[in-house]
């Protein structure tokens, strides 16, 4: 079966500084895939290239049989890619409900849009409690839920998350990882970049460890966790 997302020989540079030197990566339908690596390894750049926020110099990005490298970012929701950016970017002045509605603003059928909002509320009851509040008033963890919920509004075939646990309180790190697991159990496909490599690999079917813009290790989550080199280089020893 062909992969849902297939990245081959990806090269990206910001100006004169090359960040990725031929990265390869595959995501199958129904998997959780994690990209791990130290700061500056180019983890976020890989997914930014996928969602059209970083210009691709070389290589292929094929999503569902279609070449998507260098397509503009605003096309991604229509293609079936939901993106949860780093830093919980929400529409701060809009209410929680309006934020979610914005997530499906390409969906012209307002009944379907409302159904999607209800589904997100079922997934995240906390957001339902806060539905009338401006998103800017939510806690960091709630904002992250909202950003994830917004990305789910178009019922994407692939959800891409950039550092979903970054900057959250330990309690909310647990909540967010539980939610990601719940999404997988519902049959969603996730690709995430995560600083918290151990947690991410525990959750993931497969992982890719990057080092300075190159693939270093690629294996199942379990095997990567057990690999002494990976433990030493990416999981802080032990």
């Amino acid at each position: 079966m062909p992969s849902l997302l297939s990245i081959r020989g990806l090269e990206v540079a910001y100006g004169a500084v090359q960040v990725l030197f031929g990265v390869n990566l595959e995501v199958q339908t129904g998997e959780i895939v994690a990209i791990i690596g130290p700061n500056g390894a180019g983890k976020s750049t890989v997914i930014k290239a996928v969602v059209g926020l970083a210009a691709v110099q070389q290589g292929q990005i094929v999503f569902d049989g279609r070449e998507i490298a260098n397509l503009p970012a605003h096309i991604m929701p229509a293609l079936g890619i939901g993106y949860v950016p780093q830093g919980r970017i929400v529409f701060a002045q809009m209410t929680v409900t309006d934020n979610l509605e914005m997530g499906a603003f390409l969906q012209k059928d307002s009944v379907k849009r409302r159904q999607a909002v209800q589904q997100v509320f079922e997934q995240f009851p906390r957001l339902y409690e806060r539905r009338h509040q401006p998103a800017g008033k939510l806690s960091g963890g709630e904002q992250q839920m909202l950003a994830i919920g917004r990305a789910l509004m178009m019922n994407p075939r692939l959800v891409i998350l950039d550092e979903p646990s970054l900057g959250l309180s330990p309690k909310y790190v647990d909540v967010i990882f539980d939610q990601l697991l719940a999404l997988k159990q519902q049959g969603r496909t996730l690709l995430m970049v995560e600083q918290n490599a151990a947690r991410a690999l525990e959750l993931s079917d497969r992982g890719y460890a990057l080092e300075l813009g190159h693939n270093r290790f690629a294996d199942s989550g379990e095997k990567l966790l057990a690999n002494p080199d990976v433990r030493r280089m990416y999981l802080g020893g032990a």
């Binding site: 929701p77 993106y83 970017i89 529409f91 914005m102």
Partner: protein, 319 residues
Amino acid sequence: MLNNNRRRVSLGLGFGLMLIAMTAPLYMNAYYQSFLLQLFMMVALAQAWNLISGMTGYVSFGHTAFFGVGAYAGALLLLAGFPWWLAVFKGAGIALLLAVPLGFLTLRLRGPYFAIAMLGLNEVGRIIATLWVDLTRGGDGISLAPKLLPSLHSNYFSMLFLALSATLLVAFIHRRRFGLELRAIREDEEAAEMVGVNTTVNKVMAFMLSALIPGAAGAVYAMYTSYIDPSSVFAPALNIQMIVMVLFGGTGTVWGPILGAGIVMFLREMLWAQFPAAHLAALGVLLLIVVLYLPGGIISLFRARQQRARPDARTGAAP
């Protein structure tokens, strides 16, 4: 329910104001007609500024560039023998066309950089109007002979038409997807892009529409005053007035700019005769108070009361 009520109040108020404005020339003398004409102009300009800066958050300090272009185009076309209404039409069209390349160039800039670029644009317009003597007669300005000019009534109704169309345009956009897209851009451009908003196209569209109105208003203004020169139409002070009126009334709203233009024009007219020197300072202090204590503008006074009156009307079904 209350939403419907609000719309009814809005419509009723709008029709009432229109009725007064339409019939005013029957019983008002030239002084009041002139005052209203200027008020209409400011409403139109404030709405145009509201459309780009209020709705997308791209604060423009140079929308008078389009006003100036419209004024010069209108005056020159009138001299070239076009009927006044066609000159106005074409003046607006030229401003609109000019906005396309300028929009693509300047709207890449964010925050203060866009504001400064627009300020610069207005200066470029003023300098071209000053130096291109063959076309614009430079600093001498252009005088329009009375026999070429439309009557005060024509100018009055032209400005009224512009104020009305600008307001309806803002109201229409407000209720459309386009309005939602602009609002998303104002809140967070990156997030807007990620949920599928084509931010570039939307921004340039809003910019074009917001250039069309000052273009037309500039042309009518030239015919109303019968004389323009570079610094009277490429006037940063006029741009400041647009901003003040929108902030005063309520940014990004339909009624805010009308309210703001009305109050500021009225106060200025009242204070101007009594305190020729101090009236601007008084207005400045007033604006400061509004911005500090009513960031949503005067209109938020009405909004706040309505919201308190309906604590939780939008509760949906529990999941």
